[in-house]
């Protein structure tokens, strides 16, 4: 039984008895099915299936949809053609991140946005406030759709039946699943090749097609030695890939420029909320995001302090055990003088442990991730 006030996704009944559950951002979600390490390795070596229906989904429609997005996003949506999926930020006036999101462009007048679960209400309010006088409808479609991620090197083969072969990275197509509209995007949050499937018209009172899709994808994954995966694997995978989590590595107080994500900020745009502040931060940048690999058998966690020569130089924003490296790893926000190859120390449980500054992603790109040599 779920506690009062805790939400579940539409397809929760189909897996609730086969996983360890955890509460995250107001939702009861799978922490793991078989085990975090097994699930991480399944995604790196074959394929994993995740219910990510807790993620916020927002649809924008109207003549001014593009105008609104040009004003609130750090990237230019008008430059992208229909069928593009674009990662970027909604920033505040100080250059801090209100949220990071993927914008799926259907036409100049229609977009789907996928935002963080814990920020959805804030994002909706921010967009409504910013769209005063504009002709644009902002609709929350989270409770009338589901989102399933299929990630890993075998994902294309596994989804062959849906005709995903012609979908390029950060592009999407619209398909049909038993009469319902299904958006298939070649995007993800693991560093691997993979897809996210957004199936429309699945509600809590009528979840059948969603449950059917989840069961089908789970069974298909098993054929490819894949696994159902939970949030534990999802978080570990995204840290191994060096992908930021809002609230940890980027926030209202940590700008994309400091987090090393300047490539998702289009300074050539004449204006967008936060542009002036971001230009200033770029000029006098004093913090930067680095990858730390622990030299000893210790796992750094967020908020651990980072030292160099006895002096405090920064803080861990995300940390975990890497099943691929078999070491403790961390993303840390440190003084911008620090560079790759430098040695530093991370304070864990009152003691300081040696770590080396490496680069993102943490794994070897020849062996893992979407850029790996195809096998």
């Amino acid at each position: 039984m779920s506690k009062a006030g805790v939400k579940v996704t539409q397809i929760f009944p189909s897996y609730k008895d086969s996983c360890k559950l955890t509460e995250f951002a107001g939702y009861l979600l799978p922490l793991y099915f078989k085990g975090i390490i097994d699930e991480v390795l399944a995604v790196r070596n074959s394929v994993g299936v995740f219910d990510v229906s807790h993620m916020g989904r927002i649809e924008l429609q109207g003549d001014d949809a593009s105008n609104l997005l040009e004003n609130i996003l750090t990237i230019s949506v008008t430059k992208g053609e229909p069928g593009r999926a674009m990662y970027g930020f909604m920033c505040n006036e100080r250059g801090g991140v209100v949220d990071d999101l993927i914008t799926y462009k259907h036409t100049d007048k229609k977009y789907t946005l996928v935002v963080n679960c814990s920020n959805k209400e804030k994002d909706l309010a921010w967009m409504r406030k910013s769209s005063g006088g504009m002709n644009v409808e902002i609709k929350d479609i989270t409770d009338e759709s589901i989102l399933i991620a299929v990630q890993g090197p075998s994902s294309s083969k596994m989804l062959d039946e849906f005709g995903v072969g012609d979908i390029k990275r950060f592009r999407f197509n619209i398909r049909e699943y038993y009469g319902n509209e299904m958006m298939i995007a070649r995007t993800g949050y693991t560093g691997e090749d993979g897809y996210e499937l957004l199936l429309r018209n699945v509600t809590h009172s009528n979840p059948d097609k969603g449950i059917r899709l989840w069961k089908h994808l789970s069974e298909s994954a098993a054929i490819f030695s894949g696994l159902n995966c939970g949030l534990g694997a999802r978080d570990t995978l995204r840290i191994e890939a060096g992908l930021p989590l809002h609230g940890n590595d980027i926030s209202e107080d940590i700008s994309p420029v400091e987090a090393g994500l300047e490539r998702f900020v289009d300074f050539q745009k004449t204006k967008f909320i936060g542009k002036d502040a971001l230009e200033e931060i770029r000029e006098r940048k004093h913090r930067t995001m680095v990858a730390l690999v622990l030299k000893e058998n210790i796992i750094p966690r967020s908020h651990c302090r980072v030292f160099m020569g006895g002096e405090e130089v920064g803080i861990v924003t995300s940390g975990t055990y890497s099943p691929v490296l078999k070491k403790g790893i961390a993303m840390a926000l440190v003084n911008s003088e620090l560079k790759k190859g430098d040695l530093c120390e991370v304070e864990v449980r009152g003691a300081r442990w040696k770590a080396e500054i490496t680069g993102f992603p943490f794994y070897e790109v020849e062996k893992y991730g979407y850029r790996r040599r195809s096998n």
């Binding site: 360890k20 975090i36 390490i37 058998n297 796992i299 055990y321 449980r349």
Partner: protein
């Protein structure tokens, strides 16, 4: 005996922090963490052990266990001197998950005040009640 899926051995004593202790004789006891603790931690990846010969007071931290998502301290159930540690766990920490009551033991100690301190430990049935209570809450 079993509470839900968790095994609780009849020949051990327990702490409310989920350590077990096997009192072999006045000079030797073995310590580990329970099936429930190992399952809660899940996927243990690093273990640190106390130094052999070190003396540790009841309830103080003797070892640490790290899993992918959390870290836990292992407290010593009885004051004593560490006589042997299970160094196998440094290479194969997964043994704690696989075999918490056998291959996954942490250390052997010579307890100092077994009789007086033993009173604070839980019997198998008292520990079973605790696990019953904890599993009903979730």
């Amino acid at each position: 005996m079993k509470v839900g899926k968790y095994e609780i051995r009849e020949d051990l004593l327990y702490t409310k922090d989920h350590e077990w202790i096997k009192i072999i004789n006045d000079n030797e006891s073995v310590v580990g963490i329970t099936d429930y603790a190992a399952d809660m931690l899940h996927d243990i990846v690093f273990v640190s052990l106390p130094e052999e010969g070190s003396e540790i007071k009841q309830g103080a931290v003797a070892a640490t266990v790290e899993s992918v998502k959390s870290t836990a301290d292992v407290m010593i159930p009885l004051s004593g001197r560490i006589i042997l540690t299970n160094k196998e766990l440094l290479q194969h920490p997964e043994k704690v998950n696989q075999s918490p009551y056998e291959d996954g033991w942490f250390f052997r100690l010579k307890p100092y005040n077994t009789e007086s301190e033993k009173k604070s430990l839980l019997t198998p049935s008292a520990y079973a009640d605790l696990i019953q209570h904890l599993t009903q809450q979730s």
